[in-house]
Symmetry: C2
Subunit: 222 residues, 2 copies
């Protein structure tokens, strides 16, 4: 079956909001989709009719198996396009979201399979989010806030929590990218900022705010 762009956007939003609470509230969906609660109720009823979600009046929505499958297909397209935009067309991290938002609705199985092949079957997008495979499976990678990691241990940046241009600029200035290795040297209790060493460069101090946004994994033996 073929779905409209509006329907696909709802399914995608339900998927993301479900990560936080199993049952998604009408108001949350309205907020995420920048629309009115009444519109959400209408659309949710339609999606129920199309057997994509489970819905109970006044309770909330959640995806059923078919809805989850569809959500993962859309997210797969979105993230593959983001990867393409950054790695092939040399976009910056912060410029890709809006465009991928449009490209994700282009419907062609062959297009996505060939794009995936051309890109070399990437498993993570430019923000470190996993790209679902053809069957909807997600690769796993630790994503722990840099802020509360043990000192002195080597860590690798695996993702960033938000994707504002301001953040991108700051990361660029400190020579930090996905995959960059860092070590926490010390924490300042005064303002919560921390001092880290980035790869083999000299130590830098980063704000509490930034340290919460950077997600890392622990690197095994030193």
């Amino acid at each position: 079956m073929q779905y409209t762009i509006a329907e696909e956007n709802y399914i995608k939003s339900v998927y993301h909001l479900q990560q936080q609470s199993a049952l998604v509230a009408t108001n949350h969906l309205a907020e995420a989709l920048q629309t009115q609660p009444a519109s959400v109720t209408d659309m949710v009823k339609k999606l129920t009719g199309k057997k994509l979600v489970h819905y109970e009046r006044y309770k909330g929505v959640r995806l059923n198996a078919a809805g989850k499958r569809l959500a993962l297909q859309i997210i797969r397209k979105h993230r593959l396009w983001e990867y393409f935009l950054v790695n092939t067309l040399e976009f910056g991290w912060d410029e890709v979201h809006e465009v991928a938002e449009q490209l994700e609705h282009v419907s062609s199985a062959k297009l996505i399979e060939q794009l995936d092949r051309f890109l070399g079957h990437p498993r993570f997008d430019p923000h470190g989010d996993p790209i679902p495979d053809k069957e909807g499976k997600l690769a796993f990678r630790q994503r722990l806030p840099l802020l509360d990691q043990p000192h002195q241990k080597w860590l690798e940046i695996t993702a960033v929590g938000d994707e504002s241009p301001a953040l991108l600029e700051m990361l660029g200035h400190h020579n930090i990218q996905l995959g960059t290795r860092v070590r926490v040297l010390r924490a300042f209790s005064f303002d919560g900022s921390i001092e880290i060493s980035v790869a083999d460069q000299k130590p830098v101090t980063i704000s509490n705010q930034l340290a919460k946004t950077l997600l890392v994994k622990l690197i095994e033996h030193d």
Copy 2:
């Protein structure tokens, strides 16, 4: 300004139909867009309001300068995506149209400029149609029907008139592509078929039908 997909499709159709007759009839547009004449009238009025076309009741439509500019932008996107699909993602000629039809409506100036750059600023799409440049300029290349070319002269295939899978298969079988050099050896008056030599292979006979569909340019000396 930003236009809807429906509006863009109308503008594109008017552009193409204008190549044949300066003033485009409501019924022709309806036929091309697979819709009802009444719907065309409605939309044409809207496009008139948006200052993209010139329209007179019962007479017909034509693009004004702004409409032409928009049409060429859309065609540029369509043909760049076709080039990408064939040359980067290894689609066959016959598989690209439908997908490009969707991709052409993705709106991002940077996307198209970077795609153009990545592809090396191609001037012709996989069917031999010219790709408008950023300013809407079209490269020129002779496109004469192979059927009525002088015998013995070397010719180069520059375009194909239609893009059915059947045609593609036949061309593949005879080792003919865009850019292939051919020579007309003789014409059979019986059924209008002609004998040609393709590059340095042994001569083949092709139907009148096919000879009309293949467009060529004359190669200068030799």
